[in-house]
Structure formats: C-alpha cells, structure tokens
Amino acid sequence: MRNRVREQRTQRGLSQAELAAALGVSRQTVISIESGRYLPSLPLAFTIARFFDLTVDKMFDPDDEEAGP
C-alpha cells in the first residue's frame, strides 16, 4: 500500500522526529510507515490524515501495491 506521508511531511518542512512527536509515535514508526514496512492502525491512519488535512483514502492508496514511495 502506497502512502503520501513522506511527500506531505517534506512539503511542510517537517523532520521525521517532529512528525512523530506531533502524532504521538516514535520516529522509528514514522520511518516504517513512510517506507511502507508498517501499516498503521485505523486510529493512527485517521490521526495522520487529519494532521495533514487530508482524508484517509487520499493519504493511503490501497490500489497501489507498491511498498513505499
């Protein structure tokens, strides 16, 4: 599943540590999500989407099976 976390984060000029602090997760988890190695839970997916003012389906694309950006 492809996601736009890295794209959105870099657009806003945030570091992975800053995003992690904002989401209440570890920096390692942000790295894993960005690389597609970890699929976040539904509550965390909503938190990420809301943080970037996007919907979950805009943030995470289930049709694209390619892992990572």
């Binding site: 209440g24 997760v25 570890s26 920096r27 390692q28 988890t29 894993s32 970890y38 976040p40 839970s41 965390l44």
Partner: protein, 151 residues
Amino acid sequence: MMTLIPARLRWPALYALAGLLFAAAWLVRGGRLWWVSIMALILTAIHVIRLYRLGGTDTDEGARAGSRPDERQQMISLRSRALACNLAAVTSFIGLSAAIAVNAIWFWPFLVTLLITGYGYLFGLGSYGVAEEGTPDDADTGRQTRPPVRP
C-alpha cells in the same frame, strides 16, 4: 501497582525484583555455593543500570525498556512474545516425548510447561473475544443467513 512506578523505572524495577528473588533463593539454599547470590546481585545491578540507560535512548528497544512503546513497538513486542511462547510449547513437547521414550521421571516439568502454554492460549482466545460471536443483525428479518462454508 506498576502504574505508581514511573514508566522508565518499571522494567528495571521488575528485573531488580527478579534478581533479588534469584539471589535470595541461592542464599536460602546455603551450602558452598552461597556466593552465587552475590554474583546474582552484581549481575542484576549491572543489568538494571543498563536497562535504565537503554530506556532513555531513541530506539525501539529503548521505547520498550522505558515502557513507552507506540502501537508498532507494542505489536513487535507482542509478536516476539508469541514466538517465545510457541518455542516454549514446541520445546516442551519435544522434551516430554523424549522423557516418555526413555521412561524418565523428569517428564513433568515439560508437561506442566506444555499445559500452561496450551491453556494460556485457550484462555487468551476466550479473553480476547473469540467467543463474542453475537447475533446476526438480520436475525429478525426472516431472511436465510448463508453459512460461510458450503455443507
């Protein structure tokens, strides 16, 4: 009780308690090997300090040691514990089989471990919701509910 202890101290405190119990067991046993309790205390102290320092690092292991894991780190920990339990069950089964084969009296620790892991698994299934099947939401509509598997 664990919530009264600051998060970063929980795992070190647990290891300190385990080390103290282990050292006390050697001391109570007495005999020529009483010094093992001193060794146990020294090793426990070293491990507790290492664990406390690890709890302050920005790593997955640090998050676990500092009792502040997020959902991914909790999942990793859960999977690791499940793997450890599976290994314990398989090892117990092999040990039990070997003990039976040689007609040994030391079969019972394997049997106890196997029973604990087996019943623990069943207890987990019951506790975590397998039994919550509930009533289908179309039960009162008169429609035939199709079974998931064809007879």
